[in-house]
């Protein structure tokens, strides 16, 4: 487990470095179980930092969406490093961004935080509704320990962990300049049980399942916006010329949107589950993304965001790639 003292000391040291611009980490949110990302520029602010099962946000997203305001003539861009705290899945996002040259390694300082799984706030809030005072949580053995206003409560881990964490294979950061705490033994088996369940159903049942889900989509594009891998300056799904999908929300456009989004992440999705977390209408987006994780791994032995030297899946091939569906 990451020791908070250690974390804050490291953060302080890091932020004091001349070649570091700021540090992206997590701090307690305003109410209840909320934890919020924070940008730390002063050593003093490091005291706010936490690392707990509530640190759900994938901070790698912030590496890539930072707005670059036009610079006055003659002014040099600030290319100092950005320090970032990463869990296992977040670190895979960083690796995939490096593969795709979205960021430069020398402009990063990566603080790795081995993670025993983060919580699904929907599950937590269902158990403990209407809590307004800030709540802290920490990992225990096979359980999560909450400091609720009424006292300490322990909950079995499976009951509150986010779905994606239940089957996690990468609890330890795959890339880091410094790693806090002990390495954790992975517990996921990579069997894609969820995907297989759906695959076992008939085509009609699958269509009915997704039709139900997609028809509730309000096309807020939160899933895309939060994704650490979706960082085109001008997404083709927003474009009018050519217009790939129309703006209306109906089953046709919604389905096209979701298929396109998923496809663009095939071989790139690093399974952090952010899209599913932020979806306001609870579309099980990870069920879609994991389908590709499964296929890509089974067919090409490929897992995105693991090896910074790997070639992207969709810009490479092998002459003997499988082709059993071809006529």
């Amino acid at each position: 487990m990451v020791d908070l003292e250690k974390l804050r000391t490291v953060a302080k040291e890091t932020i004091s470095r001349d070649d570091v611009k700021y540090l992206i980490g997590w701090r307690q949110g305003t109410y209840g179980f909320r934890v919020t990302p924070c940008f730390i520029e002063e050593p003093g602010e490091a005291e706010q930092l936490i690392f707990s099962p509530l640190c759900t946000n994938n901070l790698a997203s912030y590496l890539i969406v930072t707005e670059k305001l036009p610079l006055p003539r003659g002014e040099k861009p600030d290319t100092r490093k950005v320090a970032v705290m990463v869990k296992g899945c977040d670190s895979r996002a960083v690796v995939q961004q490096l593969i795709e040259q979205g960021i430069k390694r020398e402009e990063l300082y990566i603080i790795g935080c081995p993670c025993e799984g983060v919580l699904d706030l929907k599950k937590v809030e269902a158990k403990f509704p209407h809590i307004l005072d800030p709540v802290a949580a920490q990992w225990g053995k096979d359980k999560i320990i909450f400091q609720l206003p009424e006292g300490v409560v322990e909950v079995p881990r499976e009951e509150v962990l986010a779905q994606k964490c239940l089957d996690c294979r990468d609890p330890n950061p795959v890339i880091a300049d410094i790693t806090l705490g002990e390495e954790i033994e992975a517990w996921g088996n990579g069997e894609y049980q969820d995907v297989k369940e759906l695959e076992a159903k008939s085509a009609e049942e699958r269509w009915a399942f997704w039709e139900d889900k997609f028809s509730s989509c309000i096309r807020c594009y939160s899933c895309r916006n939060v994704c650490p891998m979706c960082y085109c300056k001008d997404c083709i799904l927003d474009r009018l010329n050519p217009s790939w999908i129309y703006r209306s929300t109906n089953i046709s456009e919604n389905t096209a949107f979701h298929l396109s989004r998923a496809f663009h992440l095939a071989g790139r999705c690093i399974e952090c589950g952010e899209c599913e977390r932020v979806c306001p209408v609870d579309i099980p987006l990870m069920k879609l993304n994991q389908k590709f994780s499964k296929e890509v791994e089974e067919k090409y032995g490929y897992r995105p965001g693991i090896d910074p030297e790997a070639k992207p899946l969709q810009s490479s091939y092998r002459p003997d790639d499988k082709e059993d569906f071809i006529l």
Binding site: V195, L198, E199, A203, E204, E205, R206, W207, A208, F209, W210, E211, W244, I245, Y246, S248, N250, I251, S252, E253, T255, A256, H258, L259, S260, A262, F263, A266, G267, L288, K291, F292, E295, V296, K299, Y300, L313, Q314, S315, Y317, R318, P319, D321, K322, E323, F325, I326, L327
Partner: protein, 144 residues
Amino acid sequence: MSEQQFEPSVIAFLCNWCSYAGADLAGTSRIQYPTNLDIIRVMCSGRVNPLFIVNALQQGADGVLVSGCHPGDCHYMEGNFYARRRFTLMNELLNYVGVDAKRFNMSWVSASEGAKWKDVVEEVVENAKEAGPFEQFRRNKINW
């Protein structure tokens, strides 16, 4: 619409050098096949954006075909290898969301395979017929 009357619409993307030429050869050889399949020519199967498939289904196609040179024969050496990966993935995705597996097809047809082209067309049209009209996914109003 009853099963018998249903005439599916199939949109096909063919690479210029092999499959399009193979379809030309079928013509020169006067090999007869159904009229349901309309061809869009691209230079290489590698040009076909997998999202075209989604788009074609939205825009009224009941079936889609992508056809290129046999692996290793692509005029541009590698285009069909990329296409194969992309469409393997797209095919999985479509099946997974419950699009009838018969709607999307891919084939390798060389410039000398006029007869194979006919077989492919017949199979793809038959597949689309079996899958039936794909109205669930149609766009309400298509602008063009």
